[in-house]
Amino acid sequence: MVRLADIPEPERTVIADLDCPAYEDTPPVKPPPPAERHVAIVSTAGFILRGERPMLSNETGYRAIAADVEDGDILCSHVSTNFDRTGFQQDVNVMLPRERLLELEREGCIGKAADRHYAFMGATSPPKLEDKARELGRSMLALGVNTVVLAPV
């Protein structure tokens, strides 16, 4: 088990001091019933597709990962030393559990796993992501997505 207190210094202070701006409480969207949930995963691992330009620190854009992309073509361009990537190296689902989501779809626990998942660059100041996040939100809604699982690293 790992809590912030278990992380060695000086990493602990770096993580504790990450930019966490205050937000007013956002009224939660009423989720659709499970069978109508169309679920996408959004990560902050800076995922890119093999051959694409890696994302850079503080980059505000996002990348899409289509459902038919092979695991071996998904690379992590968030290269901070503050988090482990050996788990991802062995198993994509550690960061992007798209196989597990498909299992939930097959078993009827959700309506549909999205055809695309997405990645932003972690450690970017949250307010700087607002424009692109809202743009992606509208784009996902247009594709029928109504539920998002957010997966930090």
């Binding site: 939660p28 361009s77 030393t81 990537r85 050996t86 939930l104 949250p126």
Partner: protein, 237 residues
Amino acid sequence: MSGLAHYFEAEGLATVIVALVREHIVSMRPPRALWVPFELGRPFGPPGNAGLQRQVLSEALALLDQDCPEPLLRDFSDESIEIMDDADWRFTGTLNDASPRAEAAGVLPIWQLARERIGRSSYGISGLTPEAAVEFIERYHSPEPMQISKGMAKGMAKVSRARFAIDDIKAFYLEAAMAEGGHPSTRQLLDWFWDHTLAGALIREFQETARVSEDSNLELIAYSLVPAARALSFLQG
């Protein structure tokens, strides 16, 4: 990540975060979050544990079925998962200590075995082969730095390529370390890489040179190549 939740909800999407740092969630108050007790970088738990990944995802999605007049933060139901070393794990093969490039050349066939066993590789963000990545870093500060051919350039600044080459070198070695499987802890793998390979020493040396460099571009990455606790312990001898 919590900021994204606020923005997506404001656009009409229901969200739930699988959170690794509880304190950040408490501070930023996203509508729904499941705190999980795993290492940073492993929001869905250890590799190869599909059952646990499935349990995390299911518990996160189940939060959508709860009323949340206030921000909802729940802890994952199983906090018993301990990080264990694998006493039987060893790196397969012998490292060639003649030079970093010779060492990398010797690791290459082991890495290829690992790729076959794992079925993929996460190597490749720098656009360089493993041997070229090592050579690029080894010659970076030399009077004759390695030239990148146009076909490999991809519009990447030299300092960015250095950062990504270093991450690729780590991926190359750490994937090779899994050639015969096992369940080594992250600490075991990183101890081996940083304390027992010439590649680890090369990166430490690169970071030290970058740290005192007058090149402002290098300063940007000078504290982000070696985990801070390890960099500190190396400096303290």
